[in-house]
């Protein structure tokens, strides 16, 4: 992954609503998952309460600052097993 960027991934219903599964954004200091959500016009100014965020394959809080090269993912409600 190119440093200076943040990779964004969507899954399942979120992916289909948005019509894309992966995008890259220029990294900005202090950028959070909420900011990414807004920038990409995913719906409103913050993800719905049912959506969880993962940063680099770990669950994370919406307001965790993203670093250069991070992968942030928005996860609709999980239905595993």
């Amino acid at each position: 992954m190119t440093s200076g960027e943040v990779r964004v991934r969507l899954f399942a219903g979120l992916r289909e609503e948005a019509g894309w599964q992966e995008r890259s954004l220029v990294h900005q200091n202090g950028m959070t998952a909420t900011a990414v959500w807004t920038l990409l016009n995913l719906g409103g100014t913050t993800p719905p309460a049912t959506v969880r965020v993962a940063i680099n394959h770990e669950f994370a809080a919406l307001n965790t600052p993203l670093a250069n090269g991070d992968e942030v993912a928005f996860l609709p409600p999980i239905s595993g097993g």
Binding site: A12, P76, I78, G80
Partner: protein, 147 residues
């Protein structure tokens, strides 16, 4: 921790046999209690319609990592000797296995409790999404089946 995601149909008892054979040669050889769970695709969708297939989307990389972490944490908490997880991804036909969880321990209590908690945690804490296919249409499943 013996954890794997599978993209093709598998035989749960064959997975269990291979796992047991491995245990016999390791430190879990003396584990006297084994609990297993096998989950299969139901023949009907949530709304009762005949199901063509269940599709499981996952987050490659994160899903393996989460399952391994959950398994390790629960194995430690319950003090069990070994854990096996096999989980299908992709398109799965009615009656085909989705998930196998197995736990080996010295006592039945930890084996049974860890197996149950592992299954429950996987359902809520690993990035899997189910889609039911009925009459050629796919519908995402909002949550988990009731316990």
């Amino acid at each position: 921790m013996d954890v794997e995601l599978l993209a093709a149909p598998f035989n749960p008892l064959a997975s269990l046999a291979a796992w047991q054979a491995g245990l016999r040669n390791g430190p879990a050889a003396i584990a006297a209690a084994e609990a297993h769970f096998i989950g299969r695709v139901r023949p009907v969708a949530s709304d009762g319609a005949p199901l063509e297939a269940l599709e499981i989307e996952h987050y490659p990389g994160m899903s393996e990592r989460r399952i391994a972490a959950i398994s390790q944490t629960l194995a430690h908490q319950h003090g069990v000797a070994a854990v096996l997880v096999r989980h299908r991804v992709g398109r799965i036909k009615p009656g085909e296995p989705i998930v196998v969880v197995a736990v080996a321990a010295d006592r039945r209590g930890p084996a049974l409790r860890c197996c149950q908690e592992l299954l429950e945690t996987l359902k809520h804490e690993a990035p899997f999404w189910k889609r039911e296919w009925v009459n050629g249409c796919g519908q995402w499943v909002a949550g988990n089946t009731p316990l």
